[in-house]
C-alpha cells in the first residue's frame, strides 16, 4: 500500500474515534437535530463532486458530475438550513434556575 493510503487510513481511524467521543455526549432532546446536522456534514461529498467535474473528460462523465453536483449541493444547503430551523426552536435556555418562570411568562395567557 502507498504511503498516502496508509496516512488516509490513520486519519480515517482517528476520525471515527473522535466521532464516537463527540457524539456520545449529546442529550436525547437533540438527537434529531444532531442526525440532521450529521446528515449535512456528509454533504462534504460535494467537494468530491467538484473534483470529478474538473477531472471528467467525456459527455457521460460530465453528466455524472452534474448530477453529483446537484445532489451534493441539495444535501449541503438543505441540510444546514433545516437543521438551523430545528435548532432555532431551542433558543430558550433551560439552564437558568428561573427558567420555569421565564417560560411561563413567555406564554401568552399565563
Amino acid at each position: 500500500m502507498s504511503d498516502q493510503l496508509l496516512t488516509s487510513l490513520a486519519i480515517f481511524t482517528l476520525a471515527i474515534l473522535v466521532g464516537f467521543e463527540v457524539i456520545s455526549k449529546v442529550p436525547t432532546t437533540l438527537h434529531t437535530p444532531l442526525m440532521s446536522g450529521a446528515n449535512s456534514i456528509h454533504g462534504i461529498v460535494l467537494v468530491g463532486a467538484m473534483i470529478i467535474a474538473a477531472e471528467a473528460n467525456n459527455p457521460f462523465g460530465y453528466l455524472l458530475a452534474f448530477i453529483a453536483m446537484v445532489f451534493g449541493a441539495m444535501n449541503v444547503v438543505g441540510g444546514y438550513v433545516v437543521t438551523d430551523r430545528m435548532l432555532q426552536m431551542f433558543r430558550k435556555k433551560p439552564t437558568a434556575a428561573k427558567a420555569g418562570t421565564e417560560g411561563a411568562t413567555d406564554a401568552p395567557g399565563a
Partner: protein, 480 residues
C-alpha cells in the same frame, strides 16, 4: 504563488473545515450552543468548498469552461432546491426531508465513485489501492440512495407504512446481496491481478454491483414497519457518511475522509441509542421484527372489552380542577399534527392555575427528540418538557395524566417479562390518580399487543383524532 504553495494553503483550509465539523458537532451537545455549533459546521463546509474551487481553478492546466459551468449550474440548482424545500417544509414532515437529503448525499457519493472508476478504467490507471474504495463507495452509496428514498416515502405515506412482505422476499434480498458481494470481490481481485477480467467486462461488473446495491436498498427497507423508520434512517445516514469517506480515499482528500468517518460514527451511535430506547436490537429491526407502525391507526375499535369511554366535557372538568396535569404526547399527536392544539390546551389550563408538564419518552414521535422539536415549534415553554427519568416520580403526585396518541411507551406490561415490550423503559402513567387517553380507536401500537393501561379502572378513553379531541377539550374547558 507556486502550485505547491497554493495546494498547501488549500490543504490547510480543508483541515480547518474538518476541524469546524468536529467542533460544531461538539457544540450540539447542549441546546444553548447547538445552533452556533451547526453554523460553525456550515462555515467549515463553506471554507472547504471555496478552497476546493480555488484549488481546481489555480492548478496547472486550470479548469475547463464546461467543468466550471457544471459546478456553478449544478450548485445553483441543487442548492436552490434544497434551500426552498428546507425553508418551506412543515416541521412534522421534517424526518422524511432529512431522509431525502440523505438519499441525495448517498447518490452523490455513488456517482463520484462511479465516474472515478470509469475514468481510471478508460485510462488504464486503475490500481488496487483505489479500486477497493471506489467499488465500496459506489455500492454503499447506491444502497443508501434507494434505501433512504423508500424510508422517506414510507414516512410521507407515499408507500404503505406497514411492513411489506414479498413472497420469498428474504431470499431475493439475500440473493441480491450475494450478487453485490461477489461482484465487488471480483472487481477487487481483478484489480489485484488475482483473477483475469476481460477489460470490456469491468464496467459491466461495476454496473451489476451498482444495480444490485440499488435493488438491495429497496428490498432491505420495504419489509420494515413505518415506526422503525427513524432507526433505519439513522443507519442509512451512517452508511452515507461511510460512502463519503470511501470517496475521500479515492480522491486522497482529507476533509472527505474526516467528515465521512465522523458521520459514520455519529450515525452508528445514534442508531444504537434509538434501538436501545425501544429495547430492540438493530438486527431485530432490520429483519422486519414485529408489525408496522401505521397499522395501529387503521385498526378497528373493539379489541378490549372492559374499557371505560369518557366524554370531552367530563375530561374538561377533571383537567380544569386538577392541580398537576401531565401530558403524554406520542406518535398519534405527530401524525395528527396536533402540537398547536395541545399547546393551546396547556396554556388554557396554566391560566387557570393548573400545573402542566409534558412527559417526553425517548422514542416519542418519529425520531428521538422529534416530539421536543414539534412542541417547541408550537411554542410550548422548554422548561415544561420533561424527560422520562425526570417525570416518572411525578406521576405519583399527578391528578390527571393525559395520554395523546401514545401507546406502547405507556404499557405497564413492559415491567413484566414475557411480553414483546418487556424491558422497554416506559412512562409510569398508571401511577397517576386518573388517566385519560385520547386515541382514534382501540388499535394496537406497533408492538401489536393490547395495552393494559386502557382496561385500568382509573382510565377513561376519549375516542377521537388527537387534533379534534384536543380542540373539543379546549372548547369544553373554556365553557366552564
Amino acid at each position: 504563488m507556486s502550485q505547491q504553495w497554493i495546494y498547501t494553503i488549500v490543504y490547510i483550509a480543508w483541515l480547518a473545515g474538518a476541524a469546524c465539523f468536529v467542533l460544531g458537532l461538539h457544540r450540539m451537545n447542549s441546546p444553548a450552543t447547538a445552533r452556533d455549533g451547526n453554523r460553525l459546521s456550515a462555515a467549515g463546509m463553506a471554507v472547504a468548498v471555496i478552497a476546493t474551487l480555488i484549488y481546481l481553478i489555480s492548478r496547472e492546466g486550470g479548469m475547463s469552461g464546461i467543468a466550471l459551468a457544471i459546478i456553478v449550474v449544478g450548485f445553483a440548482i441543487g442548492g436552490g432546491g434544497g434551500l426552498y424545500t428546507a425553508r418551506s417544509v412543515k416541521m412534522t414532515a421534517m424526518p422524511q426531508l432529512v431522509s431525502l437529503f440523505n438519499a441525495v448525499g448517498g447518490g452523490a457519493a455513488a456517482l463520484v465513485a462511479i465516474e472515478d472508476f470509469i475514468r481510471r478504467n478508460d485510462s488504464g490507471t486503475a490500481a488496487l489501492d483505489t479500486t477497493v474504495f471506489v467499488v465500496l463507495g459506489a455500492l454503499i452509496g447506491s444502497v443508501t440512495f434507494t434505501g433512504s428514498l423508500i424510508a422517506g416515502g414510507k414516512l410521507q405515506g407515499l408507500i404503505a407504512g406497514k411492513s411489506i412482505h414479498v413472497p420469498g422476499g428474504q431470499f431475493v434480498t439475500i440473493g441480491i446481496a450475494a450478487v453485490a458481494v461477489l461482484g465487488t470481490a471480483a472487481l477487487i481481485l481483478g484489480s489485484a491481478g488475482a483473477v483475469a477480467i476481460p477489460s470490456g467486462a469491468t464496467l459491466g461488473l461495476l454496473a451489476l454491483v451498482v444495480l444490485a446495491g440499488l435493488i438491495f436498498g429497496v428490498t432491505m427497507v420495504l419489509p420494515i414497519g413505518g415506526a422503525d423508520m427513524p432507526v433505519v434512517i439513522s443507519l442509512l445516514n451512517s452508511l452515507t457518511g461511510t460512502a463519503a469517506a470511501m470517496a475521500g480515499f479515492v480522491l486522497g482528500n482529507p476533509v472527505l475522509i474526516i467528515a465521512g468517518a465522523l458521520v459514520g460514527a455519529a450515525g452508528a451511535i445514534l442508531t444504537k441509542l434509538m434501538a436501545d430506547a425501544m429495547n430492540r436490537s438493530i438486527m431485530n429491526i432490520m429483519i422486519g421484527g414485529f408489525g408496522g407502525g401505521d397499522d395501529a391507526i387503521d385498526a378497528i375499535a373493539g379489541a378490549g372489552g372492559s374499557v371505560r369511554e369518557i366524554g370531552a366535557d367530563d375530561v374538561a372538568i377533571q383537567l380544569a380542577y386538577a392541580q398537576h396535569v401531565i401530558i403524554v404526547p406520542g406518535y398519534g399527536l405527530a401524525v395528527a399534527q396536533a402540537q398547536h392544539a395541545v399547546r393551546e390546551l396547556g396554556e388554557l389550563l396554566e391560566s387557570r392555575g393548573v400545573d402542566v408538564k409534558y412527559a417526553i419518552h425517548p422514542v416519542a414521535g418519529r425520531m428521538p427528540g422529534h416530539m421536543n422539536v414539534l412542541l417547541a415549534e408550537a411554542n410550548v415553554p422548554y422548561p415544561q418538557l420533561k424527560e422520562m427519568e425526570e417525570i416518572n416520580p411525578e406521576f405519583d403526585r399527578c391528578d390527571v395524566a393525559l395520554v395523546i396518541g401514545a401507546n406502547d411507551v405507556t404499557n405497564p406490561a413492559a415491567r413484566r417479562p414475557g411480553s414483546p415490550v418487556s424491558g422497554m423503559p416506559i412512562l409510569d402513567v398508571d401511577h397517576a390518580k386518573s388517566i385519560v387517553v385520547i386515541k382514534r380507536s382501540m388499535g394496537r401500537g406497533y408492538a401489536g399487543i393490547d395495552n393494559e393501561l386502557y382496561s385500568d379502572p382509573k382510565t377513561g378513553m376519549l375516542f377521537a383524532d388527537a387534533k379534534d379531541g384536543l380542540a373539543a377539550l379546549t372548547a369544553a374547558v373554556k365553557a366552564l
